[in-house]
Assembly symmetry: D2
Homo-oligomer: 440 residues x 4
C-alpha cells in the first residue's frame, strides 16, 4: 500500500483544478491516473479473485479503461480531460473502497479463515493473487511517473508557469568535465530477464537470451544543456542533413527550435522545471528531447545512440542507484565532478573480464531516460501474458524506440537493468535525454 499512498502523496501540492486537465492527447489528467490505477486492481485482481465483490460503479469500467479492448470499449483517450465528474473526492472514495477490498483479499490469501482450504489449490490461488498485486504495483509506479510528466506538460504550457515543488537549486555549478568514452568488448552477451518468483519483470523483458554485441564505447555521463545549446546555436534545427526524414517533417510541422521546455526571452534561454521557470542551467543534463532530436544531436557530434543491448551490457557492471522520484528533486541533477563521487567502482572493475570499463558510467539511472536506437520489438521467444493482460506491452511493438535507465520521476524500486521503456520517436514530454555511443 506504500505505492498506493505514494500516488496520493504526489498530488499533495495540487489544487482541485489541477486534477482534471488534459493538456494534450497523450497526457492524462492526474485524477484519471488515480482512478485508472484503481480500475486496474479492481478489474484484474478483485473481479476475478475477490469473492462476492461488488463493483464500485457500473460506469467506471468504461471510464477508466485505458486501452484494454478485451474489457469493453475504453472511453476515448482525447476526452479524458472532459470528465469533471466523478470529482476528486469521489475518485478518492473509489480508491479507498478498492484498497479496503484488496487488503481483505490479501489477508484472506495469506490467512484463510477456513483451514480446510490450506491446500495446494489455495497455494496456487495465493500465488496468482500475489502476481496480480505485484503487477498492479508496478503498473501504478508507471502511472506515478506519467502523472508527473503530464502535470509538467500542463504547468509548463500555462503562461503563469506555476511551480509544483519549491525551488531546489539556486546556484549554478561548474560544468562537468569532457565526456569520456568507456570501451566495452561486447561479444556474446546475455540480455533480458528470466521471470522468477522473486524478481519482478514485465513480459517484454523476457526471455533472457544471447545477443552478439560488437565492441562499443559509451559516454560516461549524459549530454548537458550547455552541450546541447552549442548544437542549437550551430543551426542544428535548420540543417536537414542531420535529421531523419520523419524527424525533419515533424520539426517543420511543430516548429521545433529547442527542447520542449526551453523558451527564449530576448537573448536568454529559460527552462521550465517542476520548481518553476528559470534561466537555463548549462551544467544540468538536457531533458525532454525526442529521439529525433537525440539522433540529430548525435549525428552533429559524429557519434550515435547506444543500442539497448549495449546499454544493458554496460549496466550489468553497475548498481541501480541515482536520483529517483523519492529524492523529490523532480529534475535531473548535474553529473558528479570526478573526485567528489564516492568511488564504488572498485568492485565493479573486477565484475566481468569481458566488459570491464576503466571507470563506471555516471547518471545511468534516475536522471533521465536514455534514448537508444533500438526499435521496441519482441525478444526471441517472447510470450505476452495470457488473456487481456497480454494487451499490456506486446501490442505496442511497432514504430517505437526503447529507452533505458530511469528518470528523476521514476520510483526507485521501479528501475532495473533489464527495464525497457518505449515511446515514439517524436515524443518528448517524458524525462528523456541523451547518452552518446561510438563504435570502437
Amino acid at each position: 500500500m506504500t505505492t498506493r499512498q505514494q500516488s496520493t502523496a504526489l498530488c499533495a501540492p495540487l489544487e482541485i483544478e489541477d486534477f482534471g486537465v488534459q493538456p494534450m492527447e497523450d497526457a492524462s489528467p492526474p485524477k484519471w491516473h488515480l482512478a485508472h490505477t484503481t480500475w486496474f486492481f479492481e478489474t484484474f485482481l478483485l473481479k476475478p479473485f475477490a469473492k462476492d465483490y461488488q463493483c464500485y460503479h457500473k460506469h467506471f469500467e468504461h471510464l477508466f479503461n485505458s486501452y484494454y479492448n478485451g474489457v469493453g470499449t475504453p472511453f476515448p483517450r482525447p476526452r479524458r480531460g472532459d470528465l469533471s465528474r466523478p470529482t476528486v473526492k469521489e475518485v478518492m472514495a473509489y480508491r479507498s473502497y478498492v484498497e479496503e477490498h484488496m487488503l481483505d483479499l490479501i489477508d484472506e490469501a495469506a490467512h484463510p479463515r477456513n483451514a480446510a482450504v490450506r491446500n495446494q489449490q489455495h497455494e496456487n490461488l495465493s500465488q496468482a493473487i500475489y502476481t496480480r498485486v505485484v503487477l498492479g504495483i508496478h503498473h501504478e509506479q508507471q502511472h506515478q511517473e506519467l502523472l508527473l510528466t503530464d502535470l509538467k506538460y500542463n504547468f509548463g504550457h500555462n503562461p503563469l508557469f506555476p511551480p509544483y515543488c519549491p525551488l531546489l537549486r539556486d546556484a549554478t555549478q561548474d560544468p562537468p568535465d569532457t565526456q569520456i568514452f568507456q570501451q566495452y568488448n561486447g561479444g556474446m552477451c546475455r540480455i533480458g530477464a528470466s521471470p522468477n518468483a522473486v524478481d519482478f519483470c514485465f513480459d517484454n523483458e523476457a526471455p533472457a537470451h544471447r545477443v552478439f554485441v560488437h565492441p562499443f564505447a559509451l559516454a560516461d555521463r549524459l549530454v548537458t544543456n550547455g552541450e546541447y545549446l552549442a548544437f542549437v546555436e550551430d543551426g542544428g534545427y535548420q540543417r536537414s542533413e542531420l535529421w531523419l526524414s520523419e524527424g525533419w517533417v515533424k520539426l517543420l510541422e511543430s516548429q521545433w527550435q529547442a527542447p520542449l521546455y526551453w523558451t527564449k526571452q530576448g537573448d536568454q534561454w529559460y527552462e521550465y522545471r517542476l520548481d518553476g521557470l528559470h534561466p537555463l542551467r548549462l551544467e544540468l543534463p538536457v531533458v525532454h528531447v525526442s529521439a529525433f532530436e537525440a539522433l540529430a544531436y548525435a549525428a552533429w557530434r559524429g557519434m550515435r545512440l547506444p543500442t539497448e543491448f549495449e546499454w544493458e551490457v554496460a549496466a550489468q557492471q553497475q548498481d541501480v542507484q541515482g536520483n529517483f522520484m523519492e529524492a523529490k528533486f523532480f529534475h535531473p541533477q548535474a553529473a558528479q565532478v570526478p573526485g567528489t563521487c564516492p568511488d564504488t567502482s572498485g568492485e565493479r572493475r573486477s565484475a566481468d573480464r569481458n566488459n570491464k570499463p576503466h571507470q563506471a558510467l555516471d547518471q545511468l539511472y534516475g536522471e533521465v531516460w536514455q534514448w537508444t536506437c533500438s526499435s521496441y520489438a519482441p525478444y526471441p521467444g517472447y510470450q505476452p501474458l495470457p488473456g487481456t493482460l497480454g494487451e499490456y506491452n506486446g501490442k505496442f511493438m511497432s514504430s517505437q524506440l526503447v529507452l533505458r535507465g530511469a528518470s528523476c520521476a521514476t520510483p526507485a524500486t521501479h528501475a532495473r537493468q533489464t527495464y525497457r521503456n518505449f515511446f515514439y520517436p517524436p515524443d518528448r514530454w517524458q524525462f528523456s535525454g541523451i547518452r552518446l555511443a561510438q563504435d570502437v
Copy 2:
C-alpha cells in the same frame, strides 16, 4: 451589480472540477466565462476611465481576451480548458477586485468629489462610463447564457449525466393543439432599433430602417419533440433531398441521427436536460437542433422558416414575456393549452391594423431561440462601434444565420424585439428550436 452576482449564483450548483472543463472548441469553461466578463470591464471600462487603475494581473489580459485582435493576441480558444491556474478562488478574487474598482468609478462619475468637475466634460465622461457599464452588463448576460449551454454540453456528454438542477417536471402533459398559422399582411415595415439614451441595443440592431415584407403566416407555437420525432421516424435523417448540401455533408460527417441531447436506449428515446437524463417528453418544444435540421424539418413539412423581418413584425404586436433564466427551469416548457393562457390578446388585436393576427403567438420569447432563414448581415447604414469594441459584432457577419426570440437560459432583461442572435448553420449546442412559417 445584480448581473454580476447572477453569474456567480449560476455557478452555485457546480463542483470546483466543473469550472475548468471545455468539452469542445466552441464551448468555454465556466471559470473562463467568469474571468472573461471581468476582463471586459477591466479592459473597456477601468483601463480607459479609472484614474491610476492598477491592472490586476499582467497575464490576464492575454488569458481572458476572447477575440479582440485590437487588444493583443488572444489566448488560443481551443486551449481554454487547459488552464488549471488561475484557480476558481483566484478568479473570484479577480472579480471582486474589478467590481470594487467599478463601484468606485461609478460612484465618482455620479458624485464627483471635486465639485469643480461638475461640468459638461464630466457629463460627457459620465455618459461614456455609463455606456460602457451597460454594454458590459449585456455582455455578461450573453455569457451567462453561454455558461449554461457550455455546462450542458459538458454534463450532457459525461456518461454519468450529472444533473445541474433538481428535477423540474415529473408528469407528462397533454400535447398542445395543432399549430395554427397566424397571417400577417407585411408591407413596408420598420425594422431594427434606434440607439438612444434609455433603451440599450447592440450596434447590429441599428439603424432602424424600412423593409418591404411580403404577406406571411407564422405558427402560433414551437415545434414539439413529438412532431420532430415523426420526422426522425419518417427517415428524415436518411433523405438527402430534404437537406441543404452543406447540411447533408455535416450530417454524414457527424453521424447525426436526432437532436443533440437525444439518445436511444432500446426502443425508448431519452433527452438530457439540465435536470438530468429522462425519457423524451413529446409535448415539450424540440431544442438543440441546428439550422440544417430546422430547415430539413421545415422542408419535410412543406413549409419554411421565417425571415428575421417576419419574426420582428410579428413580435411588434406582443409583449416580451416568457420562461427566462430567472425562472430556473433551464428547459423550454410546453405551449399553453388554449383557454388556460391569460388572455392579453385583446389589446394586441387593435394594436396594428396592418399586421393584426387573429390571436397572439405563444412561446415567442424565453423557451428557445428560433432559427430564421436570414443571413446575419449588416443593416443598411450599419456602423460598428468605434475602436476595438467594433470587433464585438460586425466582424462575424459571414456564413451565420440570425436567431430571434430568447431562451430559457436568457436573462429576462436581455430579451427584446429587435435582438439578433447569430450562430453557424451546423451549431446546435445553444437552446435553439423551430417556429414554422408559410407564404400566404
Copy 3:
C-alpha cells in the same frame, strides 16, 4: 449544337495531358467537364424522353454525376483527377453518341413521323424536351466558364506557367480616371425574373418580386490592379481590423498576401493570365479576389460592396454588353477612357426617372463577376424545379454570396440582368472582382 461545339473548341489549345488534371478539389479536369455536360443531357433528356435509348456506358452514370443524390451516388469529387480512363478520345465518342441521339430526339419532337401524334400530348412533350434542351445548354455554358477557370488554376500553379492563348496585350494603357459614384434613388423595385416561354432563367432568379431599396451609389467602373496594389502596400493583408473574422482566419491559414495569381519576384509583381505570366498591369481590373478580400478592400476605402438588389436596379438601365468569352481575351480589359467610349447613354438617361444615373456604369458585364454583400438565399416564393433537377440550385443556399454581372470567360448569351452567380466567401479561382458601393 453551337454550344456543344464551343466546349470542344475551347479545348483546342490543350494537350492530351491537360485534360485530366484536377489541381484542387473544387476544380475539375477539362475531360470531366466535357463528359459531365454530356451526362446531363443523357440523364435528364435522353433517358426520360428518347424512346428505346441505350445508355452509352453503365459506369458513366456514376462517374460523371456531379452532385445529384437523386441519381445514385456521385463519384467522389476530389478524385475526378484520378480517372485516366475513359480517355479523351472515349469521352469525345461519348459526346458524339449523345449528340446524335439528341438531334434525333429534337428532330422527332419537331417533325413527328407519325402524323397521328401531332396533338396536344405531343405539344406538351415537345415543350418538355425543349425546356430540357435549353436547360442543358445553359448548364453547359456554366461548365465552359468553369473549364476555363479550372484550367487557369492548373496552368497558373504549374512552375512552367504555360500560356493557354497567344499574348493579347503588349502595351500598358493609361490608368482610367478616378471612379465616379453614380447615384440611384432606390425605392420599391422589381427584382428577379418571371419564367416564360421565351427568355430562359434559372429557378433561383424567380419569382420576380418587389424589394424596397434605400438610395445608393455605385462606382462607374471596377477596381483596378493599381488601386488594389495600394491596399496591399498599405498593409492591407496585415491589418486584422479590415477583415471579417472568418476572412482573417482564412488569410492566416492560407498565407494570402495578394490576389490569387499575383507573385512577387524581387520588387516586381507579376500576374499569371491565360496568355502567360506577365508584369502586373496596373490599369487592368483586379481579378481573382475572394469576397473576404473584396470586403476588406472596401473597408479600407471606407466604402462597401453593393447588394445584389442595388446591382440589379442599376443594371436595369443598361444593355447587356461587354468582353465575353467569345472575344477570346480571357482576361478583363481596362475601363473605357471617357470620350473614347461609344455614347449610348442618351437612351438610358430617359429610361427610368426614379433610378436615373448621370452616366452609365462601365464594365457591368463581361470582365469580372462582381461580389455583392448579399447572401445567396431563396427569393420570396422560390420553388425549386421538380424532381432531381431541383438539386440544381436550391440546395446550395447556405454560406454563399451572390456575384452579379458576367466575366471574360462567360458565354455572351449566358449573361443577363437577373443572373445570380454564387460562391463561398473564400473562393477566388473564379474571375471575380470588385465594384464599390456607397450609401447616399
Copy 4:
C-alpha cells in the same frame, strides 16, 4: 541503356492520359518516374562529371527532385499529379537528351580522346563515373517497380478496372500442399554485403557483419489467397486481439476488410490484377497486404514473421531465381507442386552444414516481397554515401520494416540475398506478401 529502354517499354501499353495520374500521395505518375530517373542521372552524373554540360531545363531540377534537400527544395510530392506540363513527349525528349550525354560521357571515360589523360587521375574519374552510372541504373530499376505498383493503384481504383496486360491465367490450378517448415540451426551468421568493385549493393546492406541467430524454421512457400481467406472468414478483421495497436487503429480508420485489391460482389471475392478484375484464385499467393495484416495473420496462425536475418540465412543456401518483371506476368504465381519443380536442392544440401534445410524454400524471389518483423535500422558500422547521395537510404531509418526477396515487378538483376527493401507497416500498395516463421 537496357534498363533505360526497359522503363519506356513498360509504358508501351499506356495511353497518354495514364502517364499523369497520381492516385494517392505515395504513388507517383508514370511520367514523373520517367523524368525523375532522368533527373537522377543529370544531377548526380552529368552535372558533376560532364564537361560543359548544359542543363536541359532550369525548372526540371525543382520539378523532378524527389526528396534530396541537398539539391534545393523538392516540388511537393502530393502535387506531382498536377503537372500536365511538361508533356509525355517533352519528358521523352528530356530522356533522350540526357541519355545522349550519358553515352558521350561513358564513351569519353572509356576512351579518352586526349591520350595524355590516360593516367591515374583518369582512372579515378572513370571509376567514379562508373559507380554513379551503376547507382543510377539500380535507382531506375527501383522506379520501374514503383511505376508498376503506382499504375496498378491507379487502374485498380478506377471503376472501369482497365487491364494493363493481356489475360495471363485462365484456369485454376490445384492448391499447393500444406506448408512445410524448414528448420535452420542459426548460430553466428554473416549478414550483409561488403561493397566491392564487382557486385553492386546499396549502402544500407553494408557492412557485412556477424549476427547471432537463434534456431528457427521458415515455411517452404508463401501464404496463399485461400489460406488468407480462411483468416478473413474467421473474423480476422474484427478481432482486435490479433492486431498491433497501431494496426487496429489503421484498420478502423481505413475500414480494411481484406487485402488491397480484393472486392466482394455478392458472395464472390474478386481480385484486381494487372491483367484485370477476376474471381479470386485461391492457389495464388496473397499479395498487397500491409505488415499489420501480415502480423495479424501470423498471430492467428500462432506463428510469427521471420526476422530479416533469418530470411537472409535461409537465402544463403539458394540461387536467386523466380518470377521477375521480365517474365511479364506482373502477378505472383502459384507455388510449385512438389515433383514438378526442378530439383536443384542437391547442391544446396551440402552447402552449409550449420543451416541445412531438408528441402529448398520455394518462392523466395520474384513473386512478392516478404514482410519481416525487423525494423529498418543501420547495420553496425553503417556509413551513408558521402554528400547529397547520403540522403538515398539512411534518412528513412525510422518506423519502417524490412521486406526481403523480390516481386513479380522487380527486374531480375535487381534481386539479391542481401537486398533490404523497406516500407511503413500500414503500406500495402507494393507487391508484399507473407512467409511464416516459427521458433524451433
